[in-house]
Symmetry: C2
Subunit: 196 residues, 2 copies
Amino acid sequence: MARPRQFDEDQVLRAVRDQFWDAGYTATSLEDLMRVSGLGKGSLYGAFGDKHQLFLRALREYTDTSGGHLREMLTSAPRALDALRAFVLAPVSDPGGTAAQRGCLMANSTCELATTDPDVLAEARRTYEATTALVAECVVRAQDEGDLPRDVDPVATARALLAAQQGIVFMGRTGLDIDTLTATARTLADRFLPDA
Amino acid sequence: MARPRQFDEDQVLRAVRDQFWDAGYTATSLEDLMRVSGLGKGSLYGAFGDKHQLFLRALREYTDTSGGHLREMLTSAPRALDALRAFVLAPVSDPGGTAAQRGCLMANSTCELATTDPDVLAEARRTYEATTALVAECVVRAQDEGDLPRDVDPVATARALLAAQQGIVFMGRTGLDIDTLTATARTLADRFLPDA
DNA sequence: CGTATGGTGGACCGATCAGTCAATAATTCG
DNA sequence: CGAATTATTGACTGATCGGTCCACCATACG
């Protein structure tokens, strides 16, 4: 029984997320956040709390969204092996390669803040634990389908695939051209995943 | 014919580098830099210019030092294949795993600043180009020694090994425990480098 | 020993930082 | 329609930012 919000919370979170993504957490000022969200300080603070809380919300929005995409990617393909291959190649799936240079918000934030921000570190551990579990599930399915040998440890394999994928993401962030990056991702995928 | 510097430039650069390493570029203030270096503002500005120039100097000091270590690592081992293995395992060579959590200053800086700081991006490209070349040389040597097949492209292999190594570095930054991280690095190394 | 040179430390600057607060506006419910 | 409630806006705060400047001082050279 009062005045309703005049903005869409998710839309604001996405705008704020993009700002943090491009400039990093520390280098983003409240003025930046007001500009990209179109909101005043009072509204931002009223709806999300301070800068740090807002960042964690945006980060969570990001991990939830990309976690959803990941789950879909890993379960939609008919063959699990193809899904794993798509997982490693995901960082170069953007045609222009512009997305590659942006890197991953979770990874960028971890590199920037892991030493000083326990909340971000915890979110990183949570995210990569969950990702490992999802990929490991897919590895088991690939084993069931006869595409991967039975004697490899699914979780260890998942961790190696995740590390390789994050390595690709990082090389993309350095501005490595998309063709070279794609070739590198393929090389890594080929070593882990037979056939093609 | 004037008063000589009362500090060792390299020592200051190392202290400053550690500060940037732990807190990131943006989150490090001039007060922090004065504290860790023991110098006043005037001395810092007189010797190194502004914060950005000082950061680039510290970053260069870091890449030069680790580039030297890398070169030594890749050339000192009797067998090139062992050197390549050591390269992939380097991020977990620290016994306690504390170094692993710190990550790599160049990588952290790239993730934080790649979008906004052309100088850092250029330094990253330069560094990883040089690293690729060094590793590729070592791959050729391993081929000459009969430990790697002749038909693989040395540069492509080097890029894949570098990406895998950076993936390990990143997983270490997320705080993944050192044992799991070591196992992951071994898994990656084993796929690329036969024998042991 | 005096003077020129350049290093040193800290006061100081305007700008910007994150965050607070109160006046105002918009909405719902009685 | 009026009262209660909450969103919105923007002025304001004290702190801190990066950077400048200058008075002071240690040294080297004549």
